[in-house]
């Protein structure tokens, strides 16, 4: 396994992307993409949570710690939250968190936020494809991974 990672060249680099999605909108949207037999890039690992309000910023930090090259956070559009207000709280948190990460120098091309509803399978497919391409271009997240080797 170790040898395998070492042999990975940038041109054959396959990024790891973690998607934190809410159960009611984005997961359903991704499900719709699946049942509609839409194809999208397979680099995304979806983690389903009840609501975007459940997404602690530490989840995102942990994902990077464990070797994610990109993170996607997605939930219901404002006003559509299954729990009425979870995504409003999440939005506030992200505004602060994103600024904090930017200030500490984490490239915001590696962290994406989105609203994807249960019917927006096409938006989900495009989103995942775009993010995968973008992160692939950036290459492995060597800055964060470098912390592990210190």
């Amino acid at each position: 396994m170790v040898g395998h990672i070492q042999h990975t060249q940038t041109d054959s680099f396959e990024p790891k992307i973690v998607a934190f999605v809410c159960n009611w909108c984005t997961y359903a949207g991704a499900d719709l993409a699946g049942t509609s037999r839409m194809e999208y890039k397979p680099h995304v690992r979806i983690i389903k949570l009840p609501c975007t309000g459940r997404i602690d910023p530490l989840f995102i930090i942990k994902a990077f710690e464990k070797g994610a090259d990109g993170v996607l956070v997605s939930g219901c559009h404002p006003g559509d939250c299954h729990y009425t207000t979870g995504n409003y709280h999440a939005r506030r948190r992200w505004i602060a968190f994103k600024s904090l990460l930017e200030f500490t120098g984490i490239d915001m091309k590696r962290l994406h936020f989105s609203w994807v509803s249960a019917s927006e399978a096409i938006k989900w497919v495009d989103l995942v494809n775009n993010i995968t391409d973008e992160v692939k271009k950036l290459g492995p997240f060597v800055e964060y991974k470098g912390l592990c080797e210190r």
């Binding site: 910023p57 530490l58 930090i61 942990k62 710690e65 404002p78 006003g79 207000t85 409003y88 709280h89 939005r91 506030r92 948190r93 992200w94 505004i95 602060a96 968190f97 994103k98 600024s99 904090l100 990460l101 930017e102 200030f103 500490t104 120098g105 984490i106 490239d107 915001m108 994406h112 936020f113 989105s114 609203w115 989103l127 800055e143 964060y144 912390l147 592990c148 210190r150």
Partner: protein, 313 residues
């Protein structure tokens, strides 16, 4: 020749002692939390006065930089057990008390605030030379918070001690901390990353920043939870980054810039930079400034449907 004794603002101290004595004698309060000299009279340390005859120990001078509101939190059950407290507080300390009240850690009527009119304190006590009083503390040894202080006349008090200050804070926050934030904002993300990793790498996970922070009052900190372990306990760069990000984020919209975390940090991580950066973000995004109104909820526990952002696609 100046000596430490001369520099003391006698009037203020006398008023303070008198008030403290009165409160203790009448039994209005059981303990007065204030500042007192250390044995060698080189620094001030917190003192807890429970007897009226001990009020002579109370002092107030430019060395009183510590934020004593820490002792009102649940971290100090033994002080709470003494009974109702009165606290000697500068405007900036009252800001912290205000946040504690707004977060239901304290009721306004459960504490008597002796608000001290303050003309700027000394950031690092070792830099202070005897022979300075409040009027002549050199600005270069004042912390950034004092340059921008708009609460030199304490804003939420039971008694004010001292004469009204006519200091006007600059409209735009200025000073070392804010200059450095602007400087960092201009840099590339790679340069910022290198800057912060270099600083965070020195972190020894002593959690002094947490222990000294009056607003870090969780009974059980996430850093101590290990099922699951969110923050690595060893002083490793990866866990250090996670800890410092988490600490800063939890203070978003709450930090009142008392600066105690940076003062307590044994390896001099510029924590004021992250804290104040987030304070600026919160002010711009949600129009909230921490510590001015105890009836307003902290911004991260409420929301506004009209919150504006440009990054959620």
């Amino acid at each position: 020749m100046w000596s430490i004794k001369d520099c003391v603002n006698d009037n203020m101290e006398n008023t303070l002692r008198q008030k403290a004595k009165e409160l203790l004698e009448k039994g209005d309060v059981k303990v007065v939390i204030g500042y007192g000299w250390n044995k060698r009279k080189t620094r001030v340390t917190p003192v807890f006065i429970t007897k009226p005859e001990d009020v002579e120990k109370l002092v107030f001078n430019p060395l009183c930089v510590n934020n004593l509101s820490l002792y009102l939190t649940r971290k100090f059950a033994d002080i709470k057990a003494l009974g109702k407290p009165a606290i000697v507080a500068k405007g900036c300390d009252i800001k912290t008390i205000t946040v504690l009240i707004s977060e239901s850690q304290l009721k306004r009527e459960d504490v008597i605030i002796l608000g001290m009119v303050c003309n700027g304190v000394v950031y690092k006590q070792e830099l202070w030379k005897s022979g300075t009083d409040f009027k002549s503390v050199p600005t270069e040894i004042m912390p950034t918070k004092c340059h921008n202080c708009d609460v030199r006349n304490p804003h939420i008090v039971d008694f004010v001690v001292g004469e009204k200050s006519d200091f006007k804070a600059p409209d735009e926050p200025a000073g070392m901390v804010f200059d450095k934030i602007k400087d960092l904002d201009k840099k590339t993300s790679k340069e910022r990353w290198d800057f912060w990793i270099e600083h965070f790498n020195r972190c020894i996970k002593c959690y002094a920043c947490r222990q000294i922070c009056p607003l870090c009052y969780c009974e059980r900190c996430i850093a101590e939870k290990n099922m699951p372990q969110w923050i690595e306990t060893s002083a490793h760069p990866r866990g250090n980054l996670a800890w410092n990000l988490k600490r800063a984020l939890d203070l978003a919209g709450r930090c009142t810039f008392c600066g105690e975390c940076e003062r307590a940090c044994p390896v001099n991580i510029p924590l004021n930079l992250v804290n104040q950066k987030l304070a600026l973000v919160v002010k711009n995004a949600f129009g909230h400034k921490a510590g001015y109104d105890e009836k307003v909820h902290p911004p991260m526990i409420v929301f506004n449907m009209e919150d504006q952002e440009d990054f959620i696609k």
